[in-house]
Protein backbone atom coordinates (compact mmCIF):
# COMPACT_ATOMS: atom_id res chain seq x y z
CA UNK A 1 0.00 0.00 0.00
CA UNK A 2 1.49 3.31 -1.10
CA UNK A 3 0.71 5.49 1.93
CA UNK A 4 2.07 8.81 0.55
CA UNK A 5 -0.02 8.37 -2.61
CA UNK A 6 -3.13 7.63 -0.56
CA UNK A 7 -2.54 10.69 1.61
CA UNK A 8 -2.00 12.82 -1.51
CA UNK A 9 -5.21 11.53 -3.12
CA UNK A 10 -7.12 12.06 0.11
CA UNK A 11 -5.96 15.66 0.50
CA UNK A 12 -6.63 16.35 -3.17
CA UNK A 13 -10.15 14.93 -2.82
CA UNK A 14 -10.90 16.89 0.34
CA UNK A 15 -9.69 20.13 -1.26
CA UNK A 16 -11.92 19.45 -4.26
CA UNK A 17 -14.89 18.85 -1.95
CA UNK A 18 -14.25 22.26 -0.39
CA UNK A 19 -13.54 24.08 -3.66
CA UNK A 20 -16.63 22.89 -5.56
CA UNK A 21 -19.29 24.36 -3.24
CA UNK A 22 -17.07 27.43 -2.70
CA UNK A 23 -17.62 28.30 -6.38
CA UNK A 24 -21.18 29.21 -5.46
CA UNK A 25 -20.27 32.35 -3.53
CA UNK A 26 -23.78 33.28 -2.41
CA UNK A 27 -24.48 29.77 -1.15
CA UNK A 28 -21.13 29.69 0.64
CA UNK A 29 -21.98 32.82 2.60
CA UNK A 30 -25.44 31.48 3.35
CA UNK A 31 -23.80 28.28 4.67
CA UNK A 32 -21.33 30.24 6.85
CA UNK A 33 -24.05 32.46 8.34
CA UNK A 34 -26.32 29.44 8.87
CA UNK A 35 -23.60 27.56 10.73
CA UNK A 36 -22.86 30.58 12.90
CA UNK A 37 -26.56 30.80 13.80
CA UNK A 38 -26.89 27.02 14.23
CA UNK A 39 -23.85 26.59 16.43
CA UNK A 40 -23.88 30.05 18.00
CA UNK A 41 -27.37 29.51 19.37
CA UNK A 42 -26.26 26.27 21.02
CA UNK A 43 -23.52 28.08 22.90
CA UNK A 44 -25.83 31.08 23.34
CA UNK A 45 -28.33 28.84 25.12
CA UNK A 46 -25.70 28.01 27.76
CA UNK A 47 -25.05 31.75 28.12
CA UNK A 48 -28.77 32.43 28.63
CA UNK A 49 -29.07 29.63 31.19
CA UNK A 50 -26.08 31.02 33.11
CA UNK A 51 -27.48 34.55 33.06
CA UNK A 52 -29.75 33.37 35.90
CA UNK A 53 -27.12 31.55 37.97
CA UNK A 54 -23.49 31.81 39.02
CA UNK A 55 -22.82 28.11 38.65
CA UNK A 56 -24.58 24.91 37.61
CA UNK A 57 -24.12 22.26 40.28
CA UNK A 58 -20.75 23.87 41.10
CA UNK A 59 -19.61 24.24 37.47
CA UNK A 60 -19.03 27.70 35.99
CA UNK A 61 -20.23 28.84 32.58
CA UNK A 62 -16.79 28.45 30.94
CA UNK A 63 -16.42 24.97 32.38
CA UNK A 64 -19.77 23.90 30.91
CA UNK A 65 -18.92 25.59 27.60
CA UNK A 66 -15.65 23.67 27.51
CA UNK A 67 -17.47 20.37 28.06
CA UNK A 68 -19.73 21.15 25.10
CA UNK A 69 -16.93 22.45 22.90
CA UNK A 70 -14.66 19.47 23.55
CA UNK A 71 -17.26 16.93 22.55
CA UNK A 72 -18.63 18.87 19.59
CA UNK A 73 -15.18 19.79 18.24
CA UNK A 74 -14.16 16.12 18.32
CA UNK A 75 -17.45 14.99 16.82
CA UNK A 76 -17.31 17.42 13.90
CA UNK A 77 -13.60 16.86 13.35
CA UNK A 78 -14.19 13.13 12.97
CA UNK A 79 -17.28 13.79 10.84
CA UNK A 80 -15.30 16.02 8.48
CA UNK A 81 -11.93 14.27 8.15
CA UNK A 82 -13.24 10.70 8.45
CA UNK A 83 -16.82 11.20 7.29
CA UNK A 84 -17.11 7.53 6.36
CA UNK A 85 -17.50 6.50 9.99
CA UNK A 86 -20.92 8.13 10.22
CA UNK A 87 -21.98 7.28 6.67
CA UNK A 88 -20.86 3.64 6.40
CA UNK A 89 -24.52 2.60 6.44
CA UNK A 90 -25.01 4.19 3.00
CA UNK A 91 -22.34 1.86 1.63
CA UNK A 92 -23.58 -1.27 3.36
CA UNK A 93 -27.29 -0.63 3.05
CA UNK A 94 -27.60 1.02 -0.36
CA UNK A 95 -24.94 -1.08 -2.07
CA UNK A 96 -22.53 1.79 -2.67
CA UNK A 97 -19.75 -0.44 -1.40
CA UNK A 98 -19.45 -1.97 -4.90
CA UNK A 99 -18.66 1.45 -6.24
CA UNK A 100 -16.20 2.26 -3.44
CA UNK A 101 -14.28 -1.01 -3.63
CA UNK A 102 -13.05 -0.47 -7.19
CA UNK A 103 -11.28 2.76 -6.25
CA UNK A 104 -7.47 2.83 -5.96
CA UNK A 105 -7.60 3.78 -2.27
CA UNK A 106 -9.05 1.99 0.79
CA UNK A 107 -12.85 2.19 1.04
CA UNK A 108 -12.68 4.28 4.22
CA UNK A 109 -10.46 6.88 2.54
CA UNK A 110 -12.52 7.11 -0.65
CA UNK A 111 -15.83 7.26 1.20
CA UNK A 112 -14.50 9.85 3.66
CA UNK A 113 -13.66 12.12 0.74
CA UNK A 114 -16.96 11.44 -1.00
CA UNK A 115 -19.02 12.13 2.14
CA UNK A 116 -16.96 15.09 3.36
CA UNK A 117 -19.15 18.08 4.17
CA UNK A 118 -17.51 21.51 4.45
CA UNK A 119 -20.27 22.50 6.92
CA UNK A 120 -18.90 19.99 9.42
CA UNK A 121 -15.36 21.26 8.98
CA UNK A 122 -16.60 24.81 9.63
CA UNK A 123 -18.46 23.55 12.72
CA UNK A 124 -15.25 21.88 13.98
CA UNK A 125 -13.36 25.17 13.51
CA UNK A 126 -16.14 27.02 15.32
CA UNK A 127 -15.99 24.73 18.36
CA UNK A 128 -12.16 24.74 18.33
CA UNK A 129 -12.34 28.54 18.71
CA UNK A 130 -15.04 28.31 21.40
CA UNK A 131 -13.01 25.65 23.26
CA UNK A 132 -9.83 27.74 23.02
CA UNK A 133 -11.60 30.83 24.38
CA UNK A 134 -13.06 28.79 27.26
CA UNK A 135 -9.64 27.25 28.00
CA UNK A 136 -7.97 30.68 28.06
CA UNK A 137 -10.64 31.98 30.44
CA UNK A 138 -10.12 28.97 32.68
CA UNK A 139 -6.33 29.42 32.59
CA UNK A 140 -5.80 25.93 31.18
CA UNK A 141 -2.98 26.99 28.86
CA UNK A 142 -0.85 28.18 31.76
CA UNK A 143 0.15 24.76 33.07
CA UNK A 144 1.78 21.92 31.10
CA UNK A 145 -0.30 19.34 33.00
CA UNK A 146 -3.56 21.08 32.02
CA UNK A 147 -2.47 21.27 28.38
CA UNK A 148 -1.65 17.55 28.36
CA UNK A 149 -4.97 16.69 30.04
CA UNK A 150 -6.85 18.91 27.59
CA UNK A 151 -5.10 17.16 24.69
CA UNK A 152 -6.09 13.80 26.18
CA UNK A 153 -9.70 15.01 26.49
CA UNK A 154 -9.80 15.93 22.79
CA UNK A 155 -8.12 12.66 21.77
CA UNK A 156 -10.48 10.58 23.94
CA UNK A 157 -13.54 12.35 22.55
CA UNK A 158 -12.32 11.93 18.95
CA UNK A 159 -11.68 8.20 19.47
CA UNK A 160 -15.07 7.77 21.13
CA UNK A 161 -16.95 9.57 18.37
CA UNK A 162 -15.03 7.57 15.77
CA UNK A 163 -16.03 4.39 17.58
CA UNK A 164 -19.65 5.27 18.36
CA UNK A 165 -20.41 6.44 14.81
CA UNK A 166 -18.63 3.57 13.04
CA UNK A 167 -20.26 1.02 15.33
CA UNK A 168 -23.73 2.41 14.66
CA UNK A 169 -23.34 2.79 10.91
CA UNK A 170 -21.64 -0.59 10.43
CA UNK A 171 -24.68 -2.21 12.01
CA UNK A 172 -26.53 -1.42 8.77
CA UNK A 173 -24.76 -4.41 7.19
CA UNK A 174 -27.15 -6.60 9.19
CA UNK A 175 -29.96 -4.32 10.31
CA UNK A 176 -31.43 -1.60 8.14
CA UNK A 177 -32.87 -0.23 11.38
CA UNK A 178 -29.34 0.66 12.50
CA UNK A 179 -29.65 3.77 10.34
CA UNK A 180 -32.65 4.87 12.35
CA UNK A 181 -30.81 4.33 15.61
CA UNK A 182 -27.98 6.49 14.30
CA UNK A 183 -30.27 9.49 13.93
CA UNK A 184 -31.64 8.85 17.41
CA UNK A 185 -28.11 8.87 18.81
CA UNK A 186 -27.32 12.05 16.90
CA UNK A 187 -30.37 13.98 18.04
CA UNK A 188 -29.85 12.96 21.66
CA UNK A 189 -26.13 13.61 21.97
CA UNK A 190 -26.50 17.40 21.67
CA UNK A 191 -28.28 17.38 25.02
CA UNK A 192 -25.99 14.91 26.76
CA UNK A 193 -23.09 17.25 27.46
CA UNK A 194 -24.12 18.90 30.72
CA UNK A 195 -22.29 18.16 34.00
CA UNK A 196 -23.31 14.68 35.03
CA UNK A 197 -23.79 15.78 38.66
CA UNK A 198 -27.05 17.58 37.89
CA UNK A 199 -28.68 14.53 36.24
CA UNK A 200 -30.59 11.73 37.99
CA UNK A 201 -28.48 8.70 38.91
CA UNK A 202 -29.98 6.29 36.28
CA UNK A 203 -29.14 8.81 33.56
CA UNK A 204 -25.60 9.22 34.95
CA UNK A 205 -25.15 5.46 34.65
CA UNK A 206 -26.72 5.43 31.17
CA UNK A 207 -24.48 8.19 29.86
CA UNK A 208 -21.44 6.42 31.30
CA UNK A 209 -22.34 3.10 29.69
CA UNK A 210 -23.34 4.54 26.26
CA UNK A 211 -20.57 6.31 26.75
CA UNK A 212 -21.31 9.98 25.98
CA UNK A 213 -19.97 11.19 29.32
CA UNK A 214 -16.46 10.13 28.30
CA UNK A 215 -16.57 12.62 25.40
CA UNK A 216 -17.20 15.66 27.59
CA UNK A 217 -17.83 15.51 31.32
CA UNK A 218 -15.27 12.96 32.54
CA UNK A 219 -12.17 14.06 30.58
CA UNK A 220 -12.88 17.77 31.01
CA UNK A 221 -13.52 17.46 34.75
CA UNK A 222 -10.15 15.67 34.97
CA UNK A 223 -8.46 18.55 33.09
CA UNK A 224 -10.20 21.17 35.23
CA UNK A 225 -10.03 19.53 38.66
CA UNK A 226 -7.44 16.73 38.55
CA UNK A 227 -7.12 16.71 42.34
CA UNK A 228 -10.79 15.72 42.89
CA UNK A 229 -11.93 14.24 39.56
CA UNK A 230 -9.28 11.66 38.66
CA UNK A 231 -11.71 8.79 38.21
CA UNK A 232 -13.20 7.98 35.76
CA UNK A 233 -11.68 10.85 33.72
CA UNK A 234 -8.39 9.01 33.59
CA UNK A 235 -10.17 6.09 31.93
CA UNK A 236 -11.42 8.27 29.04
CA UNK A 237 -8.51 7.46 26.72
CA UNK A 238 -8.56 3.67 27.35
CA UNK A 239 -12.34 3.70 26.92
CA UNK A 240 -11.93 5.67 23.67
CA UNK A 241 -9.33 3.21 22.38
CA UNK A 242 -11.51 0.24 23.34
CA UNK A 243 -14.63 1.66 21.66
CA UNK A 244 -12.65 2.54 18.51
CA UNK A 245 -11.12 -0.97 18.43
CA UNK A 246 -14.52 -2.64 18.87
CA UNK A 247 -16.01 -0.51 16.09
CA UNK A 248 -13.14 -1.39 13.71
CA UNK A 249 -13.72 -5.07 14.50
CA UNK A 250 -17.42 -4.55 13.81
CA UNK A 251 -16.60 -2.77 10.54
CA UNK A 252 -14.33 -5.68 9.51
CA UNK A 253 -17.14 -8.14 10.20
CA UNK A 254 -19.62 -5.95 8.30
CA UNK A 255 -17.26 -5.74 5.31
CA UNK A 256 -16.88 -9.51 5.12
CA UNK A 257 -20.64 -9.93 5.60
CA UNK A 258 -21.41 -7.49 2.79
CA UNK A 259 -22.90 -9.06 -0.32
CA UNK A 260 -24.51 -7.36 -3.28
CA UNK A 261 -25.97 -8.01 -6.71
CA UNK A 262 -25.21 -4.50 -7.83
CA UNK A 263 -24.76 -1.00 -6.58
CA UNK A 264 -27.23 1.76 -6.04
CA UNK A 265 -26.94 4.93 -8.04
CA UNK A 266 -23.80 6.43 -6.47
CA UNK A 267 -24.97 9.97 -7.18
Amino acid sequence: MNIPAIVRLYLHGVLTQIKVPAQYRGDTWVAIVSILIWRGLRVGFIGIAFSFIADLGGWTVWEVVLMWANSLFAEFLVNSVAAFVSQADLYFYQGRMDYARIRPVPVMVFASVEQMRPEFLLSAIFFAIVGAVASINLGLFSSPLSIVLLGLAVASAALLWFGIMLFMSSGAAWLSRARVLKFGVWSFDEHAKYPLDILPFPLQVGLTVIPYAFTSYYPISLALRPETHIWPGILSLPVGLAVAAISLFMYGKASSHYDSLGSADPT
Binding site: V30, I35, I53, G57, R117, V180, F188, H191, P200
Partner: protein, 276 residues
Protein backbone atom coordinates in the same frame (compact mmCIF):
# COMPACT_ATOMS: atom_id res chain seq x y z
CA UNK B 1 -70.25 21.63 -6.90
CA UNK B 2 -69.88 18.90 -4.25
CA UNK B 3 -68.40 16.53 -6.81
CA UNK B 4 -65.90 19.15 -7.97
CA UNK B 5 -64.93 19.85 -4.38
CA UNK B 6 -64.53 16.15 -3.66
CA UNK B 7 -62.40 15.63 -6.76
CA UNK B 8 -60.15 18.51 -5.81
CA UNK B 9 -59.72 17.32 -2.23
CA UNK B 10 -59.37 13.56 -2.85
CA UNK B 11 -55.82 13.66 -4.27
CA UNK B 12 -54.60 15.31 -1.07
CA UNK B 13 -56.45 12.80 1.08
CA UNK B 14 -54.66 10.13 -0.95
CA UNK B 15 -51.32 11.83 -0.33
CA UNK B 16 -52.12 12.04 3.37
CA UNK B 17 -53.05 8.34 3.49
CA UNK B 18 -49.99 7.21 1.53
CA UNK B 19 -47.66 9.23 3.77
CA UNK B 20 -49.42 8.02 6.93
CA UNK B 21 -48.97 4.41 5.77
CA UNK B 22 -45.30 5.04 5.04
CA UNK B 23 -44.98 6.39 8.59
CA UNK B 24 -46.47 3.16 9.88
CA UNK B 25 -43.96 1.18 7.81
CA UNK B 26 -41.22 3.28 9.43
CA UNK B 27 -42.71 3.17 12.92
CA UNK B 28 -39.33 2.18 14.37
CA UNK B 29 -38.16 5.75 13.71
CA UNK B 30 -41.02 7.09 15.78
CA UNK B 31 -40.38 4.62 18.58
CA UNK B 32 -36.80 5.86 18.75
CA UNK B 33 -38.18 9.41 18.77
CA UNK B 34 -40.15 8.47 21.91
CA UNK B 35 -37.02 7.27 23.70
CA UNK B 36 -34.97 10.28 22.59
CA UNK B 37 -37.71 12.79 23.47
CA UNK B 38 -38.17 11.10 26.85
CA UNK B 39 -34.45 11.29 27.66
CA UNK B 40 -34.16 14.90 26.48
CA UNK B 41 -37.18 15.81 28.62
CA UNK B 42 -35.51 14.20 31.67
CA UNK B 43 -32.24 16.05 30.99
CA UNK B 44 -33.97 19.40 30.43
CA UNK B 45 -36.03 18.89 33.58
CA UNK B 46 -32.86 18.29 35.62
CA UNK B 47 -31.13 21.28 34.02
CA UNK B 48 -34.01 23.69 34.65
CA UNK B 49 -34.60 22.40 38.17
CA UNK B 50 -30.94 23.09 38.94
CA UNK B 51 -31.29 26.59 37.47
CA UNK B 52 -34.60 27.14 39.25
CA UNK B 53 -33.20 26.20 42.66
CA UNK B 54 -30.34 28.69 42.26
CA UNK B 55 -32.10 31.63 40.63
CA UNK B 56 -34.52 34.04 42.25
CA UNK B 57 -35.45 35.46 38.84
CA UNK B 58 -36.63 32.05 37.64
CA UNK B 59 -38.36 31.34 40.96
CA UNK B 60 -40.30 34.59 40.57
CA UNK B 61 -41.46 33.63 37.08
CA UNK B 62 -42.27 29.96 37.79
CA UNK B 63 -42.82 27.58 40.67
CA UNK B 64 -40.66 24.47 40.36
CA UNK B 65 -43.74 22.45 39.34
CA UNK B 66 -44.64 24.97 36.62
CA UNK B 67 -41.06 24.92 35.39
CA UNK B 68 -41.08 21.13 35.07
CA UNK B 69 -44.50 21.19 33.38
CA UNK B 70 -43.33 23.75 30.83
CA UNK B 71 -40.07 21.95 30.05
CA UNK B 72 -41.69 18.52 29.69
CA UNK B 73 -44.68 19.75 27.66
CA UNK B 74 -42.35 21.66 25.33
CA UNK B 75 -40.47 18.44 24.59
CA UNK B 76 -43.69 16.50 23.99
CA UNK B 77 -44.85 18.91 21.29
CA UNK B 78 -41.37 19.90 20.10
CA UNK B 79 -41.90 20.48 16.39
CA UNK B 80 -38.14 20.91 15.92
CA UNK B 81 -37.59 17.26 16.81
CA UNK B 82 -34.99 15.76 14.49
CA UNK B 83 -37.21 12.92 13.45
CA UNK B 84 -39.09 11.72 10.47
CA UNK B 85 -40.52 15.14 9.58
CA UNK B 86 -37.22 16.87 9.11
CA UNK B 87 -35.32 14.13 7.42
CA UNK B 88 -37.61 12.20 5.12
CA UNK B 89 -40.17 14.84 4.29
CA UNK B 90 -38.19 18.07 4.11
CA UNK B 91 -34.90 16.61 2.93
CA UNK B 92 -36.82 14.27 0.61
CA UNK B 93 -38.56 17.22 -1.06
CA UNK B 94 -35.28 19.16 -1.28
CA UNK B 95 -33.46 16.14 -2.70
CA UNK B 96 -36.12 15.71 -5.41
CA UNK B 97 -35.58 19.34 -6.40
CA UNK B 98 -31.78 19.05 -6.41
CA UNK B 99 -31.88 15.91 -8.59
CA UNK B 100 -34.59 17.11 -10.94
CA UNK B 101 -37.03 14.43 -9.81
CA UNK B 102 -39.39 17.26 -8.90
CA UNK B 103 -40.41 17.12 -12.57
CA UNK B 104 -42.70 14.24 -11.61
CA UNK B 105 -44.39 16.41 -8.96
CA UNK B 106 -44.87 19.23 -11.45
CA UNK B 107 -46.75 17.10 -13.98
CA UNK B 108 -49.18 15.79 -11.38
CA UNK B 109 -52.65 17.40 -11.23
CA UNK B 110 -51.97 18.57 -7.68
CA UNK B 111 -50.88 21.87 -6.19
CA UNK B 112 -47.22 21.47 -5.11
CA UNK B 113 -47.73 23.40 -1.87
CA UNK B 114 -50.91 21.55 -0.83
CA UNK B 115 -49.27 18.20 -1.55
CA UNK B 116 -46.38 19.09 0.78
CA UNK B 117 -48.83 20.27 3.45
CA UNK B 118 -50.78 16.99 3.12
CA UNK B 119 -47.54 14.99 3.60
CA UNK B 120 -46.54 17.01 6.64
CA UNK B 121 -50.02 16.73 8.11
CA UNK B 122 -49.74 12.93 7.91
CA UNK B 123 -46.35 12.95 9.64
CA UNK B 124 -47.55 15.42 12.25
CA UNK B 125 -50.65 13.30 12.98
CA UNK B 126 -48.58 10.15 13.24
CA UNK B 127 -45.98 11.85 15.45
CA UNK B 128 -48.70 13.24 17.72
CA UNK B 129 -50.35 9.80 18.08
CA UNK B 130 -47.25 7.62 18.34
CA UNK B 131 -44.78 9.95 20.10
CA UNK B 132 -46.66 12.85 21.70
CA UNK B 133 -49.65 11.05 23.20
CA UNK B 134 -47.72 8.17 24.85
CA UNK B 135 -45.19 10.64 26.25
CA UNK B 136 -47.99 12.85 27.57
CA UNK B 137 -49.56 9.80 29.26
CA UNK B 138 -46.27 8.70 30.84
CA UNK B 139 -45.39 12.15 32.14
CA UNK B 140 -48.96 12.72 33.29
CA UNK B 141 -48.87 9.43 35.23
CA UNK B 142 -45.60 10.29 36.97
CA UNK B 143 -47.05 13.71 37.79
CA UNK B 144 -44.55 15.86 35.91
CA UNK B 145 -47.31 17.57 33.95
CA UNK B 146 -50.81 18.54 35.05
CA UNK B 147 -54.05 18.31 33.10
CA UNK B 148 -54.85 21.37 30.99
CA UNK B 149 -55.68 24.37 33.16
CA UNK B 150 -59.38 24.02 32.24
CA UNK B 151 -61.49 22.18 29.62
CA UNK B 152 -61.55 25.40 27.56
CA UNK B 153 -57.77 25.65 27.76
CA UNK B 154 -57.59 22.01 26.69
CA UNK B 155 -59.69 22.65 23.58
CA UNK B 156 -57.82 25.85 22.77
CA UNK B 157 -54.55 23.95 23.19
CA UNK B 158 -55.65 21.64 20.34
CA UNK B 159 -56.65 24.69 18.25
CA UNK B 160 -53.27 26.25 18.99
CA UNK B 161 -51.46 23.00 18.14
CA UNK B 162 -53.22 22.95 14.76
CA UNK B 163 -52.02 26.50 14.13
CA UNK B 164 -48.50 25.47 15.22
CA UNK B 165 -48.56 22.70 12.62
CA UNK B 166 -49.64 25.18 9.93
CA UNK B 167 -46.85 27.59 10.92
CA UNK B 168 -44.36 24.71 10.91
CA UNK B 169 -45.53 23.59 7.48
CA UNK B 170 -45.23 27.16 6.22
CA UNK B 171 -41.63 27.35 7.41
CA UNK B 172 -40.82 23.91 5.98
CA UNK B 173 -42.32 24.92 2.66
CA UNK B 174 -40.29 28.13 2.45
CA UNK B 175 -37.12 26.11 3.02
CA UNK B 176 -38.13 23.59 0.37
CA UNK B 177 -38.81 26.37 -2.13
CA UNK B 178 -35.41 27.92 -1.37
CA UNK B 179 -33.94 24.65 -2.66
CA UNK B 180 -34.96 25.77 -6.16
CA UNK B 181 -32.54 28.69 -5.90
CA UNK B 182 -29.76 27.38 -3.66
CA UNK B 183 -27.40 24.40 -3.91
CA UNK B 184 -26.94 24.16 -0.17
CA UNK B 185 -29.96 24.28 2.08
CA UNK B 186 -28.61 21.90 4.72
CA UNK B 187 -27.17 24.78 6.74
CA UNK B 188 -30.39 26.80 6.43
CA UNK B 189 -32.38 23.82 7.64
CA UNK B 190 -30.11 23.32 10.66
CA UNK B 191 -30.14 27.05 11.46
CA UNK B 192 -33.93 26.83 11.34
CA UNK B 193 -33.87 23.98 13.90
CA UNK B 194 -31.59 25.99 16.22
CA UNK B 195 -33.68 29.17 15.85
CA UNK B 196 -36.83 27.19 16.43
CA UNK B 197 -35.48 25.54 19.60
CA UNK B 198 -34.18 28.74 21.21
CA UNK B 199 -36.71 31.31 19.93
CA UNK B 200 -39.62 28.85 19.73
CA UNK B 201 -39.50 27.94 23.39
CA UNK B 202 -38.58 24.25 23.33
CA UNK B 203 -35.28 24.78 25.16
CA UNK B 204 -36.15 27.83 27.23
CA UNK B 205 -39.45 29.52 28.06
CA UNK B 206 -39.60 32.65 25.89
CA UNK B 207 -40.65 34.66 28.93
CA UNK B 208 -37.15 34.06 30.34
CA UNK B 209 -35.24 35.24 27.26
CA UNK B 210 -33.08 38.35 27.77
CA UNK B 211 -34.52 41.65 26.47
CA UNK B 212 -32.96 41.77 22.99
CA UNK B 213 -33.68 38.10 22.23
CA UNK B 214 -37.20 38.46 23.59
CA UNK B 215 -37.79 41.37 21.21
CA UNK B 216 -36.49 39.29 18.29
CA UNK B 217 -38.53 36.24 19.32
CA UNK B 218 -41.72 38.27 19.58
CA UNK B 219 -41.53 39.38 15.93
CA UNK B 220 -40.64 35.95 14.50
CA UNK B 221 -43.05 33.06 13.89
CA UNK B 222 -41.13 30.53 16.02
CA UNK B 223 -42.95 31.51 19.23
CA UNK B 224 -46.13 30.13 17.65
CA UNK B 225 -44.66 26.62 17.46
CA UNK B 226 -44.13 25.54 21.06
CA UNK B 227 -44.38 28.46 23.46
CA UNK B 228 -47.95 29.53 22.64
CA UNK B 229 -49.55 26.03 22.79
CA UNK B 230 -47.74 25.15 26.04
CA UNK B 231 -48.57 28.52 27.60
CA UNK B 232 -52.24 27.94 26.74
CA UNK B 233 -52.15 24.37 28.09
CA UNK B 234 -50.72 25.62 31.39
CA UNK B 235 -53.36 28.34 31.63
CA UNK B 236 -50.82 31.17 31.59
CA UNK B 237 -52.76 32.90 28.81
CA UNK B 238 -56.29 34.06 29.51
CA UNK B 239 -58.81 36.63 28.29
CA UNK B 240 -57.47 39.15 25.79
CA UNK B 241 -53.92 37.74 25.96
CA UNK B 242 -55.22 34.33 24.96
CA UNK B 243 -57.21 35.71 22.04
CA UNK B 244 -54.23 37.79 20.89
CA UNK B 245 -51.86 34.78 21.10
CA UNK B 246 -54.19 32.64 18.98
CA UNK B 247 -54.68 35.48 16.51
CA UNK B 248 -50.92 35.91 16.14
CA UNK B 249 -50.50 32.16 15.62
CA UNK B 250 -53.18 31.90 12.93
CA UNK B 251 -51.94 35.13 11.40
CA UNK B 252 -48.45 33.65 11.01
CA UNK B 253 -49.95 30.46 9.55
CA UNK B 254 -51.81 32.48 6.90
CA UNK B 255 -48.88 34.80 6.20
CA UNK B 256 -46.43 31.94 5.69
CA UNK B 257 -48.87 30.07 3.45
CA UNK B 258 -49.34 33.18 1.28
CA UNK B 259 -45.58 33.84 1.24
CA UNK B 260 -45.06 30.25 0.08
CA UNK B 261 -47.62 30.72 -2.71
CA UNK B 262 -46.01 33.98 -3.87
CA UNK B 263 -42.49 32.57 -3.86
CA UNK B 264 -43.72 29.49 -5.70
CA UNK B 265 -45.41 31.70 -8.29
CA UNK B 266 -42.05 33.44 -8.81
CA UNK B 267 -39.93 30.27 -8.85
CA UNK B 268 -42.20 27.92 -10.84
CA UNK B 269 -41.84 29.57 -14.30
CA UNK B 270 -38.06 29.62 -13.85
CA UNK B 271 -37.70 25.91 -13.10
CA UNK B 272 -35.79 24.05 -15.81
CA UNK B 273 -35.49 20.28 -15.45
CA UNK B 274 -33.45 18.18 -17.86
CA UNK B 275 -34.51 14.93 -16.28
CA UNK B 276 -34.63 13.18 -12.92
Amino acid sequence: MVRALRESVLPYVGTWLATFRSCWALRMEFLISIVVAFLIAVIMRSLWLAIHSASETVQTAFTDREMVSYVVMSQIINLARIGHTNRRIVYGAMSRIARGQVAMDLIRPQVFQLTRYAEWLAVFTFDALVVGLPLWLVFRLVGWIPNPASPVHGILFIVSLAAAWLVMSGIHYLIVVIAFRSTNVFGIQMARVALQEVLGGSLIPIALLPGALLAIASVLPFQALVFTPVWIYLGRFSGADLARALLVQWGWAALLAVAGMLIWAYVRPRVVVFGG
